[in-house]
Structures are given as structure tokens and as C-alpha cells.
Amino acid sequence: MIIESLVFAVGFASSLLSMPAVMRFMRSRGIVGVDMHKLDRPSIPEMGGVAVLIGLTASTLTAAALMPERANILLGFLFSALIAGIIGAIDDLKPLSARVKPLLTLLSGVPILLMGAYNPRGPVFPIIGQTRMRLVYPIVIIIALAVTSNAVNMLDPFNGTMSGSCTVITISMLISSLILGRWEGLILSLCLLGPLIVLYLFNRYPARVFSGDVGSLAIGAALGAIAIIGRLEAAAVIAFAPQIMNAFYGLSTIGRLYERREVPRPVILRSDGRLEATSDPKAPITLARIILAYGPMHEREAARTIIILSVISGILSVFTAYLMKVTT
């Protein structure tokens, strides 16, 4: 319990201390983004995800130092997140094409395979139990991390949405790990939770920092790695339901991989400061657009709605973990 608390505290403190410095650095270098959903369109420092990576590195290395016998698992997790973060940083500084970025994120699953930080037999499902996928599973791991990192990156329409919903997913993975007695899932969730809470505090409405792709891709890869290393795949699929829904509809309406700047905006800002779903048939059907189809909303309310949906899918994912315990 002491080790777990210490890992969480180190991650939280190092992210909290580094975030203001990261924000100042990004602003001084002109790495800022325009907050499109505000009438005054303020410039906000980008790449706040760098502070998440600093916190994640500190917490994971602390855990590895305290438990050297589990270092392969912890380093596999850390390198996966760092690779995705580096790809995100490159994309933030020099935008990559819609096809190259997902292809590059396939690399983030490689450390898990190289460190042998996964269950070689395959995933565990409720009712079915342990599957036998020895040959296919390594390929599934590579694809899974690319899917989670890009799905998280795509669900970042409003202030605090990505950081808030990912905090909820991490908490649900933590509870699922406790239910199933999976130590790996528990410690890795705690490594990520501290930096994520800090990002949410700075990124919630009205945002003081944007996470950038460096943050969203790294957090998505870290969550995918927790699911695989902690053997929580089925629970993770349910916890990721809003992200899956968002990515799946966006891709199916456009019919190909796309970058946000290539397609019409799914959400428009009204003169009264509220957000509205566009009726442009060429715009992707994203989760944000579906939520706003019921009528205009303030950004704060829209962000809260997505986080509440994440809480509901998180509850279902915890229930899935309980089913896994009971039925297998």
C-alpha cells in the first residue's frame, strides 16, 4: 500500500510542478493553439502533455526502483507511452498525414512484446475465460495500442474532455484490477492517474493548457498498455466505449482516415457563445456532434456530458470485470 501511494504521489507531484514550466516554455516559443469554441478565441499553450510524460516517467521509474523484479513490465509500459508521445510531439510541431500518424503509432506496442510484458496465451473474456491466441495475440497488441492512442486523440473536442474521460477510464481500470486481483493493472493505473488528474485540473473549462497530440497519443497508448499488461482487455473495451463510438462514426462517415483540418468542422460556435451541431452532410458524425444534435449547449455542459458518458461506460466496465471474476 505504501509503494502504491508513493507511486501515485510522485506522478502527481512531478506533473504538478512541471506543468507551469511547460506552459511558460510553450508560450515563449509560440507553441500555442486557438481555442475555437470561445467567442474571444484566446491563445492557449499547446503540448501540455509533456508534463504528463514527465509525471508518468517519474512515477514508473519510482515503481521500477522499488520493485526491480517487475522492471520489465514497468519499462515496457513506459516505453510504449513514450514512443506514442514522441510521435505526438512530432505531429504537434510538424503535422503528419492522416495515414502516417496511425502507422507510426503501431510502433508503440513493440516495447510490450520485446519486454515480454504480456500474457502470451491471449486475452481473458467474461463467460469465455482464457482464450488461446498465442500466434495472433502479438499482432493484436500492436494494433490495439495504435487503436487506443488514436481513439483517445480523436475524442478531444472540448476543454477537459480528453483528460476527464481518460481519468475516468484509468479509475475504472484501477477498480477492475482490484476486483480481479491484478497487481500490474493496479500499479500501472496509479502511475498514470496522478499526471492525468493534473492535466485535467489545467485542461478543464476554461482551459489553461492544451494537451496536444503528445499528451493524447501517449495517454491512449498508456491506457492500451494497462489493458494488455493488466489482462483487462474486455473491461477496457467497455470503458473505451465513448472513444470507440466517436472514432468509429467519424471514420465510417468520412470513409477513410482523416485529419481534423481536412474535413468540415462538426461543431460550430454561435454568436451567443453556445455550440451547435452542423447540418453539413460532409462533416463527420462525431460524439460531440451527436450530443449537440439535441440542441445548442455551452462548452462546459457539452464537456460534462461526455465525461458523464465515460463514467457510465466506466461503471459498465467495472461490472464486466466482476463478471470476469464470477464466470471464469
Binding site: 463467460i127 469465455i128 467497455i238 463510438m245 447540418s279 444534435a293 455542459e301
Partner: protein
Amino acid sequence: MIRRIVDFTLILIFMWACMILGLWIIDRIIVPLEMPYVHPLITATIKVGASSALAIIWLWIWREIVKRMFWHTLRSHRRRSMRSRDGESGGKSIKGNN
């Protein structure tokens, strides 16, 4: 906000229940499938194919439900706002005539 959350919650619960049902079908029907006189590799391929088809059907149902819900909601919202705009302008013209 409540209406949006309730609709999505119902979809999430329905899709979750469908996933559990799909896993039950795989466990009870597809996995125990025995095919006499058929090579075990072909039987295994058929089992994987059938399970994958179930997963694709699950995703397809999910997509269709949300797509229909989205366009229905958008149309009914537009109709409602047009009706209320017509009502407002009608009221003004009557007042003006008087």
C-alpha cells in the same frame, strides 16, 4: 442534458448486453462446434470466421443505431426551432397589423 445522457446510456447498456450475448454464443455454440470429416484447421478457421462475423455485426448494429438516432434528433430539433421561429414572426406581424 438529461435526455442526451439517457439516450446514450440506453445505447451503451444495449451494446454491452449484446456483447455479453455474443460472448455466450461464441462459448456455447461456436467453440464446441464439431465437424466430422472436416480437417481441424478448416474447422478452426470457420470458428474464427464466425466469431469475427459476430463482432462485425455487433459494430454494425451499434453504428446503425447511433446514425439513425443522430439524423432523427437533428431533423426533429431543426423542425422544432423552425416552428418556434415561425411562431415568433407570426406574432410580430399580427401585432404590427394592429
